[in-house]
């Protein structure tokens, strides 16, 4: 699919914003349980970062729409459309962050704050899933239509937000207890995220598609070749659903994103973790944040361009490497395939 840069910005930036929020909420919870709470100003600063990231993502997504004034209508179908759900949940999340920050500001009872934080985490998870399922439920785009998509969107958002949160904690010299707890959580997230990503990439290498040129045309013949697209110039069908830029380099880009999104932040955070324990200088979180952001952008770009829409069969643009399922194929003689030539 053609990468829609506004959507890449939205999913990466708002995802990181959501991750920062979860970082701050869990950080304060762990500090609270250990009796050494994070100073309110630190959390409020962090919320400012989360808000800035989320609003920047929302602003970018706004450019995706051609009729911005009608944007409010996008909440109409929240019962059916994941996109609509995302549009509903985004302002709830932003509003929730503002409320959460205000509670700190007025010095509300810690229990109220923690309860709000917990509710916020639920909203964040719902928002991650809504954003990802916009793509994840398009089952005939085989690269997208998988449970890996929501898991990956959630983990990528949490990881990239986590390093931003860690940078804020570092600069504000947050208490060691909360910082260490969150750093340990980071390694869990990063390792699970990396494993999920590798499994996801591996899955996409040997992908099966039940849709073939035969089912697309309803002609049961092994040799079908496109002769004419019916148009001398590119059309919406050939431009929107098919993207060939950097086709040979996508493997390298995947490697770059894995290094920048997982390995570099893990190394930086490991350094910081050891530094905190040994009383040294923990200063690498901002490096991790920049690296993770870059990695997340590359990752999302690859995600978009790797999607192969079923309609590409009609234009000879469906990659041959996505084979029909051999198990289904072996039963071909008995299966009620459409009659053809």
């Amino acid at each position: 699919m053609r990468p829609e840069y506004s959507l890449i910005l939205l999913t990466v930036l708002a995802g990181a914003g959501q991750g920062v929020f979860v970082f701050l909420a869990t950080g304060d919870m762990s500090g609270f349980s250990k009796g050494s709470r994070v100073p309110p100003m630190t959390t409020i600063t962090g919320l400012g970062v989360a808000l800035a990231l989320t609003l920047a993502g929302m602003a970018a997504s706004f450019f995706h729409l051609t009729h911005k004034a009608r944007g409010i209508k996008a909440i109409n179908k929240w019962r059916f459309s994941w996109l609509s759900r995302e549009v509903v949940l985004l302002p709830i999340f932003v509003g929730g962050m503002v409320v959460y920050g205000l509670l700190y500001f007025i010095g509300a009872h810690p229990v109220i704050i923690q309860a709000t934080g917990l509710a916020g985490i639920v909203v964040v998870l719902a928002l991650f899933i809504s954003t990802a399922m916009i793509y994840g439920h398009l089952s005939f785009i085989r690269e997208w239509g998988t449970a890996y998509t929501p898991v990956n969107f959630t983990l990528t958002g949490l990881i990239s937000g986590w390093v931003f949160g860690a940078a804020v904690y570092q600069m504000a010299l947050a208490p060691v207890g909360a910082t260490l707890f969150n750093l340990r959580l980071f390694f869990v997230l990063a390792i699970v995220g990396l494993v999920v990503k590798l499994l996801y990439y591996r899955r996409n290498c040997g992908l099966y598609s039940p849709t073939t040129i035969q089912t697309a045309l309803g002609i049961n013949h092994p040799k079908i070749r496109l002769m004419e697209t019916g148009s001398a110039y590119p059309t919406y069908n050939t431009e929107e659903y098919h993207y060939t830029a950097l086709k040979e380099k996508r493997g390298i880009l995947k490697g770059v994103s894995i290094i920048a999104l997982y390995l570099v932040p893990m190394a930086a955070m490991a350094w910081d973790y050891m530094a905190i324990l040994s009383g040294g200088l923990a200063i690498l979180a901002p490096v991790a944040a920049i690296s993770a952001m870059a990695g997340a952008f590359v990752e999302r770009w690859v995600f978009f361009v790797e999607g192969n829409h079923a309609q590409n069969h009609y234009y000879g643009n469906f990659p041959a490497k996505i084979r029909p399922n051999p198990i289904l194929q072996s039963g071909k003689k008995d299966a009620p395939l459409p009659p053809g030539v």
């Binding site: 009729h67 996109l83 005939f140 040799k223 019916g230 059309t235 919406y236």
Partner: protein, 257 residues
């Protein structure tokens, strides 16, 4: 949405589902349906279908009906299949639930899937959700467009009754396109689907398209030479092999005599 067994036919016999039935056996690939579709709709009630750079290089524009051509088989056992494709007005249209604004909707009374251009925000989600690639974004108007099944023709009381059909159906010189209610078992389209083995595209996506295609048909005569009782007749057989080599090897022999 993907399932190995296609979902069972809905028992919607009572509700109307208008659709096109396209006969691949007679379609000659002349693009008349595409051209008339563009012509009718660009001058129709819903505003023009924008073209970009119409007289320059890289011309592109909105078309509701595109025709591709495929080669099936290998020379010499080859057939050329012309394949017109417009919105299928799917019974379980995947483009409808995804639209966040309700701009895309399926009419209850006749099953036509339409876009309300006044509500569309141009998010393009529906075009990703359509497995058939039958939606076209109008970059000038900033809204998604698609075949309307000529909803502005088929109910137009000012037209003579026999012209109240989609423009592409009227235009097709090969009469490869027919139009009607596929849920009415006695309609012309239902009969064609029944009698000529009409089928749906990509049944595995579960979209349950309303438009049907009729396959290529070949007439095979099973003739057992022993049963032929005609006497003193000559049969001339040009073998395929010889025709391929450019020779005219003609075998003639008598049957039964």
């Amino acid at each position: 949405m993907f399932c190995a067994i296609p979902p069972p036919e809905r028992s919607e016999a009572m509700t109307k589902q208008l659709a096109l039935v396209i006969d691949l056996n007679t379609c000659v690939g002349c693009h008349a349906c595409g051209a008339i579709c563009k012509s009718w709709n660009t001058s129709g009630q819903f505003g023009p279908l924008t073209d970009h750079n119409p007289y320059g290089k890289d011309v592109t524009g909105v078309w509701f009906n595109r025709i591709q051509t495929y080669e099936v088989g290998e020379y010499p056992d080859v057939e050329v299949v012309h394949f017109p494709k417009s919105c299928m007005h799917c019974v379980d249209a995947p483009c409808v639930p995804v639209c966040p604004t309700n701009a895309t909707y399926k009419r209850e009374e006749d099953g036509i899937v339409l876009v309300n251009y006044n509500d569309c925000i141009g998010c393009k989600y529906c075009s990703w959700a359509c497995p058939y690639g039958c939606r076209e974004f109008d970059h000038h108007d900033g809204v998604m467009k698609k075949c309307t099944l000529c909803v502005d023709r088929i109910y137009d009381q000012t037209l003579p009754e026999d012209e109240r059909v989609p423009a592409c159906v009227l235009a097709c010189p090969a009469r490869a396109r027919s139009f009607g209610d596929i849920n009415d078992p006695e309609s012309e389209v239902s009969r064609a689907i029944r009698d000529k083995m009409g089928y749906k595209l990509m049944p595995e996506t579960g979209a349950n398209p309303a438009n049907h295609y009729l396959p290529r048909r070949k007439t095979h005569v099973a003739l057992d030479l022993d049963q032929v009782t005609v006497k003193k007749q000559k049969a001339i057989i040009v073998t395929r092999k010889s025709a391929q080599e450019g020779e005219t090897l003609i075998e003639d022999f008598g049957i039964g005599g």
